[in-house]
Symmetry: C2
Subunit: 182 residues, 2 copies
């Protein structure tokens, strides 16, 4: 634990490759993994990453509310999570209380492709590299599962965020397309 | 059966809404559904649509070879099919022999979203509306399962094909993005 802490203190940065190597492991799906970093004000913050698919649906709804998403029936949200290949949650811990501050999930054929959906970071925790870290961990987990093509559909305002993570738009003219009921 | 046949004879077109209504049903996943239509030369052709996920992997490889796709390990193809939500195959029947002439599959969270992959029609059967029919049936099946957002990634030369089916590119600036290992 001490070594882990030192890495953070040294880098002042949660997005170090050393750290990434420590975080993902074969049992990641069942473990809650600890991330510690220094906030801008110098406060030590505990943030946990979990790949466990058990998510409190009311906490998730509150998180999605915080970024202004349209509410969805919790029953359908539960089915979607249960049928996602990877579910990642970020928790903030304060006074032994846990707060869900980030979430993302990926559907997959578990062999070739995965598609990431519902990426959300609470506005109070945005701009600190947590979204980057969440995405990097999901990519790492999918790569560990031997998935080679990771896709997503990005709103215009987050296209650059994903570009910084190595995602590319329309490779060789391939276009993302949508069908909605009329 | 007679009525079914008459519909075809009347429309000379496999993409009629009457027909579509007949094809999909609650047990579609386990049934092989018959499509009859008139070829250009006036020959009667039997084409079967199946949502059964049992697919002969060697037949599928031959089909993918016919359109020049890079070969993929059959073991990984099997895993991908097993973990797809919808698998659709088109068979052509001649002299009591079955030939796989079309294929497509969709991954899904089984609640909100589905993504269609690996759409292929044998070159000898392209340009006759079979791809359109295959896609229409997959959409119908996904709609039956209450999936509202159907997505795919289209190569440049088939973007218009999907547009005719009601797919749109980059709605509200949403971009399809890809991540590949370096």
């Amino acid at each position: 634990m001490m070594a882990f802490w030192k890495i953070f203190f040294k880098h002042h940065n949660i997005f170090s490759s050393n750290l990434n190597n420590q975080l993902v492991n074969q049992d990641a799906a069942d473990k809650i993994l600890l991330v510690k970093y220094l906030e801008g004000r110098g406060t030590i913050v505990n943030v946990y990453l979990s790949f466990n698919s058990y998510v409190n649906l009311h906490d998730l709804e509150k998180l999605c509310d915080s970024v202004g998403w349209v509410r969805r029936p919790l029953k359908k949200v539960k089915i979607a999570i249960d049928n996602s290949f990877v579910t990642a949650s970020l928790f903030y811990e304060q006074n032994k209380k846990k707060f869900l501050i980030g979430f993302a999930r990926a559907t997959s054929d578990t062999s070739f492709n995965a598609t990431i959906w519902d990426v959300v970071i609470h506005p109070d925790f945005q701009g600190q590299g947590l979204g980057k870290m969440l995405m990097a961990q999901i990519i790492k987990q999918l790569r560990y599962e031997d998935i080679n093509t990771i896709t997503l559909f990005a709103d215009p305002q987050v296209v650059n965020f994903y570009k910084h993570l190595g995602f590319i738009t329309d490779p060789d003219g391939v276009k993302g397309m949508f069908w909605y009921p009329l």
